[in-house]
């Protein structure tokens, strides 16, 4: 670091991004331990569930799935954050996404890891999970899920890791003398001998762009297949052909909302104001609005087509959904999860970032409720001549739910202290491009003139 003189853009970038990795504050440690307490409490609830069986949940023969599957769809949903921001925007060369990419991809990896645990917790015999590997039948939508989710997790891990290599190398080179040997070895290993040679750079960029394209169809297949777990069953509300795309859009919708929240948090606590600007929030706000409009459209077409014909079972479903026991949740989703966020994005009365964060939080709560009213009411509708089913989640389910959310935040917060949250080399590259951009047309013009002569 220079003394006296002003530091360059790259130096400042490195300093800002790497500072959080240097140490932990007492407040951070308190936060981590309180999260850990919640996770342990969730684990305790799971032990209770293992001991007594699923009888300790609110699920019974009629409403046979509950909060665990709601959480599963929710977490897999927000995992789409990464794909959209880092892959789709990379493929479409949206330059502004560079500082957001890393965080988005981290949301993806952590959300899939936590989400994938949910169906296993939901099993009656978690001790027999290995049967899926040994006796797996590809005819079952559940197996499609397992295949696509594991490939999504693998793909996302690779996609998170590849752009990290130059940053790992940077950290390896910048480690102070006081650094522990563990840190040094880890960063050296993870940097896989990166020396920033043109050849390495070319190869890395090639690998990243291949992975960016590969990950998009995998991500879309994941949420389509998650919806197939429901839409392959003959149940009112699930027996739908738009479910695949409905779930994909829903996933992207809640994914963008999650990114906005995560970005705002780290901007505030890690002082990323210079890199995560209002422009990023505004752009994501527009993306959120687009996803919201699409989701609204699909919601309307979904309920209008069944509600117009009103076949007996659909009628039962719509009655409990729109006016009956599930109406509070459904309308909370419509008003709190779609209408209010839409107003918050469109009308720019309040400052951008708090406004969009509130919208993001509302969307995420709304989308969790939406998953609840997708899964539970369909199971409540009687298939035989008997009364509607009832579902009241128990403390075990709420504790495991709380534990899973705490685990999500905990893993994220720990990763935030190990990995640089902003891709240093990509942002530096982006800023170089910006600086050289005005010169480019001139050079091109000169070139043209020369060729004309």
């Amino acid at each position: 670091m220079r003394f006296g003189g002003t530091e360059s853009y790259t130096e400042r970038l490195e300093r800002t991004v790497l500072r959080p990795l240097a140490g932990t504050s007492p407040a951070y440690r308190v936060f981590v331990f309180s999260l850990l307490a919640v996770v342990l409490w969730g684990l305790y609830a799971f032990v209770v569930q293992l001991r007594y069986g699923l009888v300790s949940t609110g699920m019974r023969d009629q409403v046979l799935w509950g909060l665990y599957l709601v959480n599963f769809v929710f977490f897999i949903g927000i995992s789409h954050a990464g794909t959209l921001i880092s892959a789709i925007l990379r493929v479409t060369h949206a330059g502004w996404r560079t500082p957001v990419t890393r965080m988005a991809e981290m949301i993806t990896v952590v959300a899939i890891s936590v989400g994938a645990l949910m169906p296993i917790i939901d099993l009656g015999r978690p001790d027999r999970v290995w049967h899926i590997v040994v006796f797996g039948r590809f005819q079952s939508p559940l197996l499609w899920d397992i295949v696509s989710i594991t490939s999504y997790l693998t793909g996302s891990l690779i996609y998170l890791y590849l752009p990290l290599i130059p940053d790992f190398a940077l950290m390896r080179d910048r480690l102070g003398r006081g650094a522990s040997s563990l840190k040094r070895t880890a960063y050296t290993l993870l940097a896989v001998g990166w020396q920033n040679t043109p050849r390495q750079r070319k190869r890395l960029e090639r690998a990243i762009s291949i992975q960016a394209i590969l990950i998009i169809p995998i991500a879309i297949s994941v949420h389509t297949v998650v919806s197939f777990v429901f839409s392959m069953l003959m149940r009112p509300g699930w027996d739908s052909t738009v479910f695949g795309i409905y779930f994909v859009i829903g996933a992207i919708f809640s994914g963008i909302a999650s990114i906005i929240i995560v970005m705002a948090i780290f901007r505030r606590f890690f002082h990323f104001e210079e890199y995560l600007t209002e422009k990023h929030f505004k752009n994501l706000g527009y993306l959120l609005l687009t996803a919201l409009a699409l989701y609204l459209y699909l919601t309307v077409s979904e309920y209008l087509t069944t509600g117009y014909k009103l076949m007996v079972e659909d009628k039962h479903l719509l009655e409990i959904l729109l006016f009956g026991s599930n109406a509070p949740w459904f309308w909370a989703f419509v008003v709190g999860g779609m209408l209010i966020p839409a107003f918050l994005i469109v009308f720019r009365q309040w400052p951008t970032i708090p406004r969009l964060v509130v919208a993001g939080v509302l969307v995420n709560i709304g989308m969790w409720l939406k998953r609840f009213v997708i899964i539970i009411p369909s199971l409540q509708v009687p298939l035989m001549p008997f009364e509607f089913g009832a579902y009241q989640p128990t403390w075990v389910e709420w504790s495991i739910t709380a534990g899973s959310f705490a685990a999500f935040i905990l893993i994220f917060v720990i990763l935030a202290k190990v990995l640089p949250l902003i891709s240093i080399w990509e942002v530096a590259e982006e800023s170089e491009k910006k600086e050289t951009r005005p010169a480019l047309p001139e050079a091109e013009a000169r070139e043209k003139v020369r060729s004309l002569r």
Binding site: G53, R60, L64, G124, R125, H131, I132, S140, L143, F386
Partner: protein
């Protein structure tokens, strides 16, 4: 040549490991078959030509004869016989009698076993092939393999599958039963269970518990291949019997092709009117405590019953 003198070459090593693994695998496959128990279901009377024929089991339920056991002031006897015969966990009714409303305001009773569909949605969705259709057309569950994901329960459009939400409270005799998918006793915690047409009885040439337990003889067990059905009192020609009595299948439009036919009626053979005021009695269990209708609580909320 030099390598061999050194001792173990890589090739030898791989060979050795391979053959050891192979030997272990082969013996783990063969040994239990040599010394282990043979399943009660598997052996059949050898050389008996009549028994060697492939059956296609089905059931015919004559609703003209089914009056929900209201005329004898008893809980449904088919369900009771099933419970007694299989140590059914409390709360599960593998054959359940529903009271169904009629157009004129009255009601009829509909006993519903598992319909043993020819195109079973439940079998399609099972991720581990724990539920399957055997060669006699009965949909069975292997409770040693079931992982308890409950996809099959979600898929069944007739709500004919039940889940063992906890370790069931069964009478001590249940522990003596020798488990097989044909006779799923005792019920296994965390797995799905249902009616299996008493496949263990059919193999022995006996009628299922519900058929022989029905005091009105409303239930007929049939074989589609032999075109015959019997309720224990009379033997009928299945195809003619179905046509003569306007048989239908429940939710036939779903394409599941159930193997249970209903002959429409409301118990009129026993002088039950559609608007009969006599109450339908729920089945009773002599064991089982609260069944699965409770939440076990460890601290902090304590045990609760619904």
């Amino acid at each position: 040549m030099q390598r061999k003198e050194k001792g173990l070459s890589r090739r030898d090593f791989i060979k050795g490991v391979g053959s050891t693994v192979g030997l272990i695998a082969a013996s783990s496959y063969a040994l239990p078959r040599l010394f282990g128990q043979t399943q009660a279901s598997e052996p059949r009377a050898a050389g008996d030509a009549a028994q060697a024929r492939t059956r296609a089991w089905c059931m015919v339920i004559d609703l003209k004869k089914c009056e929900g056991c209201v005329t004898i002031d008893a809980p449904p006897q088919c369900t009771q016989a099933c419970i007694a015969g299989h140590f059914v966990p409390k709360g599960q009714q593998w054959i359940q009698v529903y009271e169904v409303g009629m157009s004129g305001g009255g009601s009829y009773f509909m006993p519903t076993p598992c319909f043993q569909c020819e195109n079973p949605p439940c079998v399609n969705v099972c991720p581990v092939a724990a539920t399957y259709r055997d060669d006699e057309g009965i949909v069975l569950i292997d409770h040693r393999r079931c992982i308890g994901c409950r996809m099959c329960m979600g898929a069944c459009p007739y709500h004919r599958r039940f889940f063992n939400w906890a370790e069931p409270e069964l009478p001590p005799e249940a522990a003596l039963a020798r488990y097989s998918p044909l006779y799923p006793v005792p019920a296994v915690k965390g797995t799905v269970i249902k009616c299996m047409f008493c496949a263990h009885m059919l193999r022995d040439g006996k009628l299922p518990f519900c058929v022989s337990g029905c005091p009105m003889k409303a239930l007929y067990m049939g074989d589609l291949n032999e075109d015959v059905a019997s309720n224990g009192m009379e033997v009928v020609q299945l195809s003619k019997f179905l046509d003569a009595n306007n048989a239908y299948r429940y939710k036939d439009e779903l394409g599941t092709q159930p193997r249970v036919w209903y002959l429409p009626g409301h118990g009129e053979n026993f002088r039950r009117h559609a608007d009969d005021p006599r109450p339908f009695l729920k089945p009773v269990w002599s064991y089982g405590g609260t069944g699965y209708d409770y939440h076990p609580g460890v601290w902090p909320w304590g045990e609760t019953t619904k």
